[in-house]
Amino acid sequence: MTTEMTEPVTATPNAAAESTRSALLSVRDLQVDLVRGESRTRLVDGVSLDLAAGETLCLVGESGSGKTLTAMSVMQLLPGGVEVTGGSVELGGRDLLRATTKELRAVRGNAIGLVSQDPMTALDPLVPVGVQVGDAIRAHDRRISKAAIRARVTELLSAVGIPNPAANARRHPHEFSGGMRQRVGIAIAMANRPRLIIADEPTTALDVTVQAQILDLLDTARRESGAAVLLITHDLGVVAERADRVLVMYAGKVVEQADVLDLFDRPAHAYTEALLRCSPGATSGAGEPIPGTSARAGALPTGCAFHPRCRIGADRPRCQQETPALLTLGTRHDSACHYPAEVTR
């Protein structure tokens, strides 16, 4: 038991390890289930992803596609009843799924910083924001002095663009606007210079005018710290501007992944095509909605889960019966579509 925990898990010489040589975060065949007594519902099914230092990977998909669960599996912060039931999550070569609670705590907020979706609820309304930033530092350094924390908090708040940081540190969250709160959220995520920043739809709850500012701030933080960013979004405009790599999810599975330009130029999955068409800003698409409703976990259609809503495969027996595998089409471009050649943009 001890050998397993103490021995650093080094990359073993096999095919999978070869491709993840430079990856900071490497998720392999992740499975997440909703467990209720004996019944299990698969929520995330076989997701694999690699993320190198300094890189931004966007997770795209509709609500319920499993993007947030995938990201939160990395931090091991899943809601009650939801469990990782298979696969591996390696950060810097270390399997987080096998880490003890104590080891996980040392990783959370330290090697991995989280920027949450809703800055209105992610901060404790009863605690001054400076204290909440300081707690992220104190959680990983019990012996640090109060003065040192205060200095670092002021520095962090100033870095994320909070004016008059020393005085504003003593204010409570309700005295800040949504954008300012999200800046505080980024300060918390950056407090211990993380190697990975997970941002779960960090701008969804914000005014359009401040969305770009917050994303710029994240970009700056990434460039200056060299951290990798796992950015969850359903806004393809954001993807086009910020991503290096894109991973499209549908019904708990990865349906396509590619470098950002490649994905926008040559989408190879009917779902990606539909997403591009319904997003008015990202492409020449006119904002056509995707017909039907998103597939529900536990009641997935047979074959390709997207086929009932698909322009190409709705009536094709192969799409209705045969589950497509995620296959490589070319350099760093994978798709799980039976008819990638028929996808246009």
């Binding site: 912060l77 705590r105 707690d135």
Partner: protein, 322 residues
């Protein structure tokens, strides 16, 4: 803030005045005659009339009320029509006794209830949770006077390790006064402890679902750190209204337990004075009870605004200058 406080104080004064009218009227509507009680069953009608005259019972009710009110606000609470002792002395010592019992009972209820609720919530679904739930059911189901009697039989009579009650004064015999409070405190505090355990469990589970708790975990904070920093504050805010009602009802409603343990508290005084139609004592005591309730909820509101910066900010805006 100041304007808020002043407004509330004025509001409480009006409420109290209204309550004094109600108390006064209801007491006079009560069957029985203090003059008859005072004069005794063998007194002639002329004696009763004389007593009635001396007590001022011949005046019209509004006049009686205004005379009493005038004396009351100038600090003259009158004398007990039965014992002849000053009301201030009777009520004062009874309230001191009850306040002491309220303090020990509240400490027991909070000291036992909150940790149990916390344990049950953090170990939700385990045997610890079920054990606490079992304790709650039993503690809430057992009537406190019955528990009091059992405690007296076991600890005072069979084992003789604790007094069955008593009237030792804290100032004269501190140890005696405190040991005589042990059994009544347990009898009185067990049900509130169970109630607080239940409420705490619910509040903790609710707060645990808040986004900022997930965020705290994502920062790498240990559970103890999170409990101290966030959880307890939110749980306490949740419990504050209940705690106010608990303290208020303990201050005014410990009559049965005080009788069981023969503690000379406010509850017993109110029963005795009612039996004897001792208007002067009853009026004072009941008005003070109303005042206590108003004061306790007022203090709870102030505490709320101190602890919750959102409410504090709101009050400052509403109230104008600080």
């Amino acid at each position: 803030m100041t304007r808020f406080v002043l407004g509330r104080v004025a509001q409480m004064a009006v409420t109290l005045l209204g309550a004094s009218v109600v108390v006064f009227t209801v007491l006079r509507l009560m069957p029985g005659d203090p003059a008859l009680v005072y004069a005794g069953p063998f007194a002639g009608s002329d004696v009763v009339e004389a007593v009635r005259d001396r007590m001022g019972l011949h005046d019209p009710l509004p006049v009686q009320y205004l005379l009493w009110l005038k004396a009351f606000v100038t600090g003259d609470l009158g004398v007990s029509s039965i014992s002849g002792l000053p009301v201030s002395q009777l009520v004062g010592s009874a309230l001191a006794q009850t306040a002491l019992l309220t303090l020990t009972t509240s400490l027991l209820a909070i000291g036992v209830g909150v940790p149990l609720g916390l344990l049950a919530a953090l170990r939700k679904g385990t045997w610890a949770d079920r054990l606490v739930a079992g304790f709650n059911t039993v503690a809430l189901g057992v009537p406190n006077f019955w528990l009091g009697l059992i405690l007296v039989i076991v600890f005072a009579i069979n084992f003789s390790i604790l007094p069955a009650g008593g009237s030792a004064k804290l100032t004269e015999d501190p140890l005696g006064a405190l040991t005589s409070l042990v059994l009544p405190t347990i009898a009185l505090g067990l049900a509130p402890a169970a109630m607080l355990a239940r409420l705490t469990r619910g509040a903790v589970i609710e707060v645990m679902h808040e986004d900022f708790m997930t965020m705290a975990a994502a920062k790498g904070m240990s559970i103890g750190f999170v409990i101290r920093r966030s959880l307890l504050r939110h749980v306490f805010l949740n419990l504050l209204p209940v705690l106010a009602i608990l303290v208020g009802s303990l201050l005014t409603g410990a009559a049965i337990i005080e009788s069981v343990f023969t503690l000379p508290g406010a509850g017993r005084l109110i029963i005795e004075s009612t039996r004897q139609r001792d208007y002067a004592v009853l009026q004072t005591l009941l008005v003070i009870f109303v005042a206590v309730f108003l004061l306790v909820t007022f203090v709870a509101d102030i505490l709320y605004s101190v602890l919750d910066p959102r409410v504090r900010g709101h009050l400052m805006r509403e109230g104008g200058v600080r």
